[in-house]
Structures are given as structure tokens and as C-alpha cells.
Amino acid sequence: MAAQNFRHALFCAIVTLIIAYPILGLNLEARGIDITLTGADTFTVVMVFIAAVVVFAFQLFRDGIMETFKSLPGLRSGGAHKEPMAENRRARIESWVITGIVVLALFWPFFVSRGSVDLATLVLIYVILALGLNVVVGLAGLLDLGYVAFYAVGAYTFALLSEYLGVSFWLALPIGALLAALFGLVLGFPVLRLRGDYLAIVTLGFGEIIRILLNNWTSLTGGPNGIGGIPDPTLFGMEFGRRVKEEGNVSFHETFGIAYAGEHKVIFLYLIALVLAVFTALVIRRFMRMPVGRAWEALREDEIAARSLGMSRTAVKLSAFTIGAFFAGFAGTVFASKQGFISPESFVFLESAIILAIVVLGGMGSQIGVILAAVAVTILPELAREFSEYRMLIFGAAMVLMMVWRPQGLMPMRRIHIELKGQE
């Protein structure tokens, strides 16, 4: 046993060295037209060796360490069965806490820096996206790798409408969402008879097609140059810029007789995103209790049984796909307005992967989990700016650790049961 552990540990340490040294320890430098290979400084080499030693030690005493981790409270999932009474109280406390957080979130931007509010807006956009994808992946069990396509449709709808027709944010918001939903419907129809891996591949393809289309249709979308000058949202016709851009509009600061401040616009966008995120969460939460939500789950659990009960597979899956796309359209419109400029670069596959990672990390089907994960995945890279080169590495490591310790996600889905009153 011990000998085997030792051999295993030694092997792991050597692998660490072999992988880490060339990546971290060797540099390719361009001098003129030649490329020379230089070794790293002593510090890096020492660090690589220390890393190898750590790996060696961890693997040697792995069993003991894992035991300690297992005995830590909190890492284990709670008891399998809870009393119905406690469940009720918990739900009530939960709803109070959530209401509190939303109220806090409403007032919070007035006390912090512009950068934080901007970041928070981005977080909320990801929350909307993740909640939408959660319907498709978590509830209906359809692996969609091209979700970003619908996000792009929403964003480009607003950008194009404003560029060519001068449509405002508030009109573009529902149009963008509906158009994204329409795309979901049209794309979903042929692909949803596929299952599992096949569906994943086809949706991946569709996601790329949309992006490449946007890239190449230069006459309409401007191709890789993107579209700029996307207007900010207005509050009942009041603009947030220093000067009014459109004829007939008034500006916000003049109406209220306050000094102009760039923050107003940022905070306003943040509040719009917050309202939309809350709206998304509430609507999807209702869907989950409605017949359509039960149908998603039933079809995910046992497709054959669901069909034998008269459920149309295509209709049920399509509804999930369309609703997911709808909310992506929402997020896209807000994103376009926030950035003021969009290009196909913003809608690459990595974006789909991140949103999917959020859903998986948060716990498939669990709204609170997904929201927490969206916050974590968006904010952590910003906090760890110094490690930006290792961002993907940390991200990957976090995913692996999650899968080992908590494969069900941060906060696994607790089903909203419908209870038959007066029983038990």
C-alpha cells in the first residue's frame, strides 16, 4: 500500500515537472527574425520544483488528506430527507433573504464606484443568460452549446434597429427578445429530435454559424468592425448624456436640476439589468410550477413514459429552447446598450462555454445556485487581475474540484414540490 502510494506520488511529481518546466521555465524570444530559446530565472525554476514537491507530498498522503476533507462538516450534503415543516420554514426564510438582497442591490450602486456598478451590470447580464440556459440545460436536459447565438441575435437586433431605423432601447428590448425566441424556434425545430451528444454538436454548429454570418455579412453588420454608437436607454424620454442627441428629448440632469454626472447612466443601466434579472428569475420560477415546467422535467426523466402519456416531445423541448432563447435576447439587448459597441468578437464559443459552466457550477436546475455561480464566475477574474494569464487555468481547476467534491453544483436543485394538502 505505502509502496504503491510512493510510486504513484513519484510518478505524479515527475509528470508535474515534465509539464510545468517547459511551459513556465522556457521562453521563446524573438530577436529580429530569429527566435531564441532562453531558460527562466532561478525563481521560476525553484517554484516549479516546489510545486513538484507539493504534488509529491499530497499524493503520498492523499488518503489521509482526503479523509480529513471528508470529515469536515458542510462539505457533505445534508440529510436525505427533511421534515415538511422545516422545509416550509426554510422556504420562507429564503424568500425573505432574497427580498433583502434585491432591496440592497437596488440602493447599493449609489454608494460605490462607477467601475463596480459597471461590473455589477455585467454580472446581472450573465445572471439573465445563465437563468435562461438553466431552463434549457438544467430543466429540460438539452445540452445546448450554442446558446451565445441567441445572445448575439438580441444584441445585433438592437444594434441594427437603432442604426438603420433609429429604434430606441425600450422598443428594441421586446423585439430583440422575441426575435431571439423566433430564432430558437426555427433552429430548434430541426435539431430537437436529436439527443444528447448529437444535439450538443449541432447547437455548437449553429452558434458558430450565427457568429460567422455576422462576421461576413459586412454590408449589413459591418463585419468584424462591428456596430458602434448604440444609444443608451432613456427614462421616459430623458437622455443621460451631457447633451441631448435626439431632437425633442430632454436630458436627465437638466430635468431634475442636478449637475451632470457620468454615473447616472451607469446606475440607470444597472437598475434596468437588475429589474430584468429579477423579472427573469420570477418568470422562470413560475414556469417551473406550471404544466410546462413539469413537462420539461418529465421528458428529461423518462422520455418514453412522457410520450406514452400524450406529451409531444417536440413541442415540449421546443418550448424550453424558445424560452431560453428569449431571455438570451433580453441579455443581448442590455449588453449592446451597455457596451455601446458590439462586434462578433463578443459572441465566440468561449462565451457559451462560460455560461454553461455557470449553470453546471451552480447546480443544474437550481436558480439560486446559478445566480451565485454567475456572480462568482464573473467577479473572480476581475478580482484576480494580476493572475489574468492563469485565469483559464484557475477556472479549469475550479471545475475539476467542483466535479470531484460537489458534482451536483454549488446549490443543487431542490424541486418545488406540489403538495396535496391535508395529507401526511
Partner: protein, 251 residues
């Protein structure tokens, strides 16, 4: 009510069902029996639309239904159970029954979001229907448990209840007594008879348990190696030489 004429089903070179004909009249329990691998479940799958038959005709209330998608056939009022219990294990017992009533509910998304009176009314009705059937199959006390945690016999009964809430005209049961003990089988026996007597449902049954089949069937069709072997009243089938041969082998 249900009429199957010369049904054939071919999988590649294998003729799993060959020229099988049977019919179910209203208010009747018809059983399909036969040795293992005779093609009974394949016949079921063809009738319920899970397979597209390669030949023959299936008429339900005078209309051709062969080759129609499964969910459409089910909506006509022909609901089946499966040889292996297929419940939605993560859902509670009562939710299983609500899912089954999908068709009776207001599935309009807007109506659900706004909780219109019609939506609520239907939701309430379906809960009542679920309660009624749970009471009927003796699972009312377990209504809020997860379906996957029920005992096997209870799962079987829940599966039947789940079919019944859809208000079918014809109930198709694929080996409902498999894995049940004698006492449970007797209960099932009574339940099936009462479905026919009290709720005017016709039943098409696949079963191995001979005492159950002989006791409740109005007519029996025997299939052997995909071919129809005999058809008639239970007492005729019991005496039929071919059937005895197929089951016991040639002496």
C-alpha cells in the same frame, strides 16, 4: 373499439410479428399470452405507436391509426403501461399524476403566468382527480413522497393510476403483475376488474400469471413466435392442444 388486422413487424431479417389479428370490444378485457419472446410487447409497441408496423392495419374506433406518432395515439384515449415500471422517480406521487393530465390543463404560458381563473380552475380539477385516483389505488397517504421511493407494488399501482387520470377508453397493461407477490396480484386483479366495471374502460393485457389471465379475461389471444396461435374464451384456450404444446413443449 380496437381492431388489429394482419399486423406484421419486421426488424431487418427478423419477422417479430407475423399476421397477428385481434380485437377489443367495448367493456371487455382481452389478454395476449404467449411464451417469452413471442412478440407480445412488439404488438403493444405497434399499437401504441412506438413502432411503425411494417404491415397490416390498426383501427381505433373505426379510424386507422397505424404509423401515427405515439403521443397522438395516446391522446385518442389509448394509454399503456410498461413492462418495467416507468415513473418519474424524482417527482412526487401526486406530481406524476399531474404530469399525466398535461392535456387537461391550460398549458398557455401567459395564462399560467397571470394565473387566470381558467388556469386555476383546471389546476384545481386535476389535483382533485389525482386525489381521487390515489385514493382509489390506495396511495393517498403517500401522495407527497417521491415516486422513486415507493415499494414496487405501489409503483405498479401508481403507474395504472397515472394512466387512469388521462381518462382513457382503452388501457393497455404490459405485464402488470410481474414482480408482485400473490396478495398484490389479487389486489391488482380486483383493480383491473373494477376499472372495467366501474369506469367503463376496456383493457388489453399482456400477462404471464395464468391465474390472473384466466380469472379476468373475457377473451384471450395466444401468440407464439410472432404468429397467432389461438384465440377465444379462457376455457377454450385452456383446452387448446396447440397452446398446451407451445407452453409445455411436445410430449
Amino acid at each position: 373499439m380496437l381492431e388489429v388486422k394482419n399486423l406484421s413487424m419486421r426488424f431487418g431479417g427478423l419477422l417479430a410479428v407475423d399476421q397477428v389479428s385481434l380485437d377489443v370490444q367495448e367493456h371487455e378485457i382481452v389478454s395476449i399470452i404467449g411464451p417469452n419472446g413471442a412478440g407480445k410487447t412488439t404488438v403493444f409497441n405497434c399499437i401504441s405507436g412506438f413502432y411503425k408496423p411494417s404491415g397490416g392495419q390498426i383501427l381505433f374506433e373505426g379510424k386507422e391509426i397505424q404509423g401515427k406518432p405515439d403521443f397522438r395515439i395516446s391522446r385518442l384515449g389509448m394509454v399503456r403501461t410498461f413492462q418495467h415500471v416507468r415513473l418519474f422517480g424524482n417527482m412526487t406521487v401526486v406530481e406524476n399524476l399531474l404530469v399525466a393530465q398535461h392535456r387537461h390543463l391550460n398549458t398557455n404560458l401567459i395564462a399560467g403566468l397571470l394565473k387566470t381563473p381558467d388556469y386555476r380552475e383546471r389546476e384545481k380539477k386535476s389535483l382533485e382527480r389525482a386525489r381521487y385516483w390515489l385514493d382509489r389505488v390506495g396511495l393517498l397517504d403517500l401522495a407527497n413522497r417521491e415516486a422513486g421511493n415507493l415499494a414496487y407494488g405501489q409503483q405498479r399501482r401508481l403507474e395504472i393510476a397515472r394512466c387512469m387520470v388521462t381518462e382513457p377508453k382503452l388501457l393497455m397493461l404490459d405485464e402488470p403483475a410481474a414482480g408482485l407477490n400473490p396478495a398484490e396480484t389479487r389486489e391488482l386483479d380486483q383493480l383491473i376488474v373494477s376499472l372495467k366495471e366501474d369506469y367503463n374502460v376496456s383493457v388489453l393485457l399482456i400477462e404471464h400469471d395464468m391465474s390472473l389471465v384466466m380469472g379476468i379475461s373475457d377473451r384471450i389471444t395466444v401468440i407464439n413466435q410472432g404468429r397467432p396461435l389461438a384465440s377465444g374464451k379462457p376455457e377454450d384456450i385452456r383446452e387448446n392442444e396447440d397452446v398446451i404444446k407451445a407452453y409445455l413443449g411436445e410430449a
